[in-house]
Amino acid sequence: MHIGVKPNACDGCEICELICSKQDGRFNTKRAKIRVINEFYKIPEVNVCRQCEDPACVASCPVDAFEEISPGVYAIDQETCTQCLACVDACPYGSIFIWREKVLKCDLCGGSPRCTVYCPKHVLELVE
């Protein structure tokens, strides 16, 4: 399972970041586990974890902080994570992000990712 991104369809509104970051009544796109890349006059792009079959991030972690929450889907256990950032360097797609001392990776919201529901242009979908 992963979040599929329809090519050349994102308009850059960042609503996926907003809904991803919603926590305890707070919004902060810097805490989002999905990112929109907006550059002048270019079609916006979405950067989100592809849930790789053989994930380099998981292999790189020296403290086994990645927890397989459903088959092939890993989440970072923040208690175990030492913020060494090895996974950030290991991800070939730059899809692991940092907010302050916290490492952020898409975990598909436990199976029902909110971004796919809230994307107004239906760019994002959950691919089984």
Binding site: K22, R26, N38, I43
Partner: protein, 595 residues
Amino acid sequence: MKGYSFKMAFVNLTTRKITFENFDESFAKMYLGGNGFLAKVLFERIPKGLDPFSPENIVGLAIGPANGTILQTAGRTAVAAKSPMTNLFCDSYFGGNFGAEMKYSGLDALFVIGKCDMPVFLKVTNSDIEICDASHLWGHDILETEGMIAKDTGKEYKTVGIGQGGENLVRYACLIGGTRAAGRGGMGAVFGSKNLKAVTIVGDNDVEVADPDGLLEFWNRTNQWGEKARGLVTLGTPVLVNSINQIGGLGTRNWQDEYFPEAEAISGELYNEKFLSHITACFGCPIACSRVFSGSHVSEGPEYETLYSLGSCCGISNPDTIITADLLCDEYSLDTISCGVSIAFAMEAYEKGILTKKDTDGMDFRFGNEEALIEAIRKIAKREGFGNFLAEGSRRMAQKLGVNFNMDVRGLELAGHSPRALKSMALSYAVSPRGGSHHDGRPTSEYGMADKRTMEGKVALSLHSHDWATIGDSLVICHLIERGFGFTLNENHVELMRHLTGWDITLEELTRIAERIITLERAFNVREGVRRKDDTLPYRMMHEEIPSGGSKGCIARPEELEKMKDDFYEKRGWDGDGVPTPQTLKRLGLDWVRY
């Protein structure tokens, strides 16, 4: 109370002193944010009679309780200063994502006063403000400048600033943030007068709202933009070209007419068919009205207002030329409305023989001359030759030439909404604090009305749309959201206020905030000498009927305008001369105001 950091920053560029001031809940409840904060601070701290280019002028950036949240269009930013176009209070707004970033920085407002002895930009990192050398940026256009700053600071920083137009004090130089413009009133010229090239900002703080689930429910319920804003969703703001032309309100050849026979060539339909690269949205906006068009050049836009000002108003019907002209204005940071309408004024003067090739640096300045349009924009940004004259705007040019076909109110050129075809806009322009702006009183709902020739209900439309616009500008969100939330203040606005802030506000209280801000802006202008006689329209609008098209024969007769003003002043609690009465000031908690 949620929705605020309760913190404002003041940067003095003369002394390089940076101070912070906190405000409390009662202040937030009085002035709401954005527009309201700017009106309050500028009224208190800008002395009467000040030259807008004086170092003592203050330019402020401000946001409100919506910004950075998921409420639709919450990336918007408010800016205000004493305007070098009008010599009065002027606020302007830009989309994009700067406003959200500012919210995450922990600042609700940032005010700049004074003048630096060298070019600088401000670097704001979570409320920490640095005054940085901008010598290497001076002389570059704003899009280059944003790229150069991002190279140094990282792409997370969001920038707003000026190109050569602002540096050279073109009176209608605007601010550009991302690729979006805070167009009106010369905010970019005020930046330039302070040697301030840009403000770049980043923040990583959370924004807390009072009722996140309620806010999401509201978001879901109001998100039917395909039905409510179909034109904007499919074609962007250029959708208005054909429809307004058919109604008969598309300013043409300096408003000598309001029907442009070649409108189809510069219509939204044409642009989307021939030039569309892709669609873009501002932060948090599900409508996504922006279009990147690719012709000889690539530009975000032109928007409707630009298609009117640089297109029909100048008699230009080549869509590719308007893309180029729009891009140049963005790069130089020129307000496309004032720039286009100023050029159109000069084109009329040229065709009437009042200006000759001797004045225009040899340019054949007839309507429709595409090369002259492009060359004029370049000259304006540099204030070179004839461009130095054009850079002063229509009113100052008209005063020099001793003519009366300048199409401005208070010195600010008219937007692309006709005061002859729309009675509410006749009033709205005349009493607008800004002048020729379509963002005080709003034109949108009158377009759909059956009888545009009657005054019936038009004063109420002007009043109530201005109230809503002022709350939108204080939240700070985009006016295009009116198609979903309503064209006047209603329970939707009350509900979103409650979700955002937790304040159990009523519609009456929200309306009173709008009245307070509008009256405070009026008080600023009254202090500068504005009275009833100044609440007027361009001569042509009041004395010449529209000669052709769907609104043929329409006119904003002075006697009609005066009657509407009587009604408007009374409803606002202003006296017969347009001055807010002591009772009104007291009712609105503005009894500290002195003219």
